[in-house]
């Protein structure tokens, strides 16, 4: 058992599909805020959360241009949480399921998000105080 608190989360939902994604990110933020080390294993559609080519867009329905719309991008949320972790003396270890990445062609992940396998997930779970799976529905 680790001496420092470490939590592992498994996420499954693709970005822009479910309120569970925002909730999951808020949980990550809260854990990092308390100085916990956090592992994330992004599985299935969740591997796209860290896709580097996500792009903001204008929104004619809202009547806003790109800058005004300031559309959230999950890759930016991950980057923000990684920066936040550093300020709290914590680690955010983000691992994408490699085969899930290949299936979806989203191999270009932001810096800090690495490719892994279910074996990494198992290892992270073993080394954590607790693990929470947030599956897709």
């Amino acid at each position: 058992m680790a001496t420092k608190h470490t939590l592992t989360f498994v996420l499954m939902d693709a970005p822009f599909e479910s309120a569970r994604t925002t909730t999951a990110f808020r949980l990550l933020h809260a854990a990092l805020d308390r100085g916990y080390d956090v592992n994330v294993f992004a599985y299935e559609g969740a591997v796209a959360l860290a896709f580097a080519k996500q792009a903001q867009h204008p929104n004619a329905v809202h009547g806003r241009d790109v800058a005004q719309e300031d559309h959230p991008l999950s890759k930016n949320w991950i980057a923000a949480l990684m920066a936040h972790a550093r300020t709290r003396g914590a680690d955010l270890n983000w691992v994408n399921c490699g085969l899930c990445v290949d299936e979806r062609g989203v191999g270009e992940a932001i810096e800090g998000a690495r490719r892994g396998s279910p074996a990494d997930c198992w290892k992270m779970a073993q080394q954590s105080n607790a693990m929470l799976v947030i599956p897709t529905k």
Partner: protein, 126 residues
Amino acid sequence: MKVLQIVETAYRATTEEQDDTVIWISHAMRGAGAELGVLLAGNAVNYVAGDQDASGLTLGAWRQTQPPVLAQDIAALMHKDVPVYCVKEDLADRGLLECKLLEGIVLMSRAQMPRLFGEYDQVWRW
């Protein structure tokens, strides 16, 4: 062709999209000339609660600047002559009948829904 959009799954990525994607596509299709109606059922009846506030999300240093304002989006849809219906029993189940609701929403009972469906050529359930 007239289409009734039934929105039952609520708050589906509304924070990320800064709107409800079905309400959004209804706006976009209305702009393209579609004749639509919207029926809010299940948890989506909460969209007509006027006092909801989704602002304030922060993740690290990231701050959301344009949080979703779903009641406003529904109101804007009605201004585009899209009638918006809401299931009265679903509001009652959630204690929302006494809340400040959007003006112009048509409350209807489940028993009235078959007649509503008959007024449309197609019914799309999201």
